[in-house]
Subunit: 304 residues, 2 copies
Amino acid sequence: MGMSAIVLGAAAGGGFPQWNCNCDVCRLAWAGDKRVRARTQASLAVSANGKRWALLNASPDLRAQIQSTAALHPGGDRRGSPIDTVVLTGAEIDQTAGLLSLRERSPFSVIATAATHAAIADNPMFAVLAADQVRRRAIAPGERFTLGDGIQAELFMVPGKLPLYLEGQDFNTAPDTASETAANVGVELTDGKARLVYVPGAAAVTPALRQRLSRADAILFDGTLFTDDEMIRTGTGAKAGRRMGHMPIEGPGGTLAALDGLSARCIFVHINNTNPILVDGSPERARVEAAGWEVAWDGMEIVL
Amino acid sequence: MGMSAIVLGAAAGGGFPQWNCNCDVCRLAWAGDKRVRARTQASLAVSANGKRWALLNASPDLRAQIQSTAALHPGGDRRGSPIDTVVLTGAEIDQTAGLLSLRERSPFSVIATAATHAAIADNPMFAVLAADQVRRRAIAPGERFTLGDGIQAELFMVPGKLPLYLEGQDFNTAPDTASETAANVGVELTDGKARLVYVPGAAAVTPALRQRLSRADAILFDGTLFTDDEMIRTGTGAKAGRRMGHMPIEGPGGTLAALDGLSARCIFVHINNTNPILVDGSPERARVEAAGWEVAWDGMEIVL
């Protein structure tokens, strides 16, 4: 078989619906409206052989994601798991808190940039991942590494920002989200034949990023907000998308424009609960589908 | 209405089934055997009016627990939640990690001992709970406090231990679990009529604890392990129950013996994935039921 990926979660931080949100889109989910389906926080499982799996990010919903994904259930031994690696694209809560659900002394590797490892190591709680069981590997952007099942991988810097909890609480200070940083990376994977690129968070598309995406067979890309002022307009937040490190889908400099004309299978992930593309039959869903994009859902499988 | 409680999660740390466990009991759950039902990690929601709710502990499964509990869904406003307080009985992962799922700038209070607040504050990630929205209240054991809906509450020390991640990784050093400490407490609640006591972790029952439980109408008590050597015998761990701060249900000095003859409705919570009381029709389930105990399940409601 070739390389395959399973979307464990397709939603942005907070998930869909979000615990404290009753926006127009969340309200449909709380009411059980058939036009929407609940989605957990963004994570992707990848494998070249269907036996050993790597997770791209460990969301707070990881325990439930493992339960609903047969390929990730433990095997015959008393203790064990098909998960042998977790690759982190940043140290945000929705990218890392799931590591706390991988306690109980099973061996696996955590691969991330030194900046991300340092942000996690500042939190004593992660000592539940016993040092004699869980191997931390710091990988620099651009440095190739191999996953347990032979997949070749590379991290690359993407315009974005530090995790919110490292910004401090001064909401008047806008961080620089235009420049690339090792605090926010994407992942490129290949089994020697197919190529998949995972970018759950991007504040902008640089020429180098566009070039990298142009050689991919499948890309899963930041679909947090449809419009930059979405959270302000829906009364759910005070910040514009780019301020949060996420470029919008629509509008000038949005993702549809910036990634127009790619040959890859293009899929939106990390979708915020306010984003109307979550609603089947919405004009915004029609807009992205007309542009050739798919909207990820929990359990979606991508076989390359 | 009187005071009511909803069991959000009935399982011990790791939940049931546990991500990396294929013990005899977990195997039934992975196989979908009808004799067992999955359980999330221990948490209790309590309310005196059905409108404002307090959570006793915030488990890593909190986001899913809120979704499956209609009483905790957000109301009419754009943003908001019926949850106005979280009371913590310790700083273990399964007691606190769910706080990270209560981010997104909604106001509520976190009530715990100073020791528990300090253990959490050591982790920069919890800064996602904005200081201008989330109020930390340090309450000493024995000090009365009032929940948002008028329930009178008190924390009390229970024999137990520090969180695992504060023990360090030296598994040869057994912590003192015989003495009471502010790092591990129980919660007593009353609406002036009924009295409920929540003790998800106890290494022993002191005379004072037995006396406190004897005046309760309902107790939810540590049901982690059926026998002290359960994890060693099942090949799932190297530690005895008491070493982990949990007295066994069966045997000399076990919970059935220590709490024999109480008039309260007695319910086991915080049940480990290896515990055979999780299996309908098992001899161990029959044993606890014959002793007058119930086995909690996710969604169980206790109306007093």
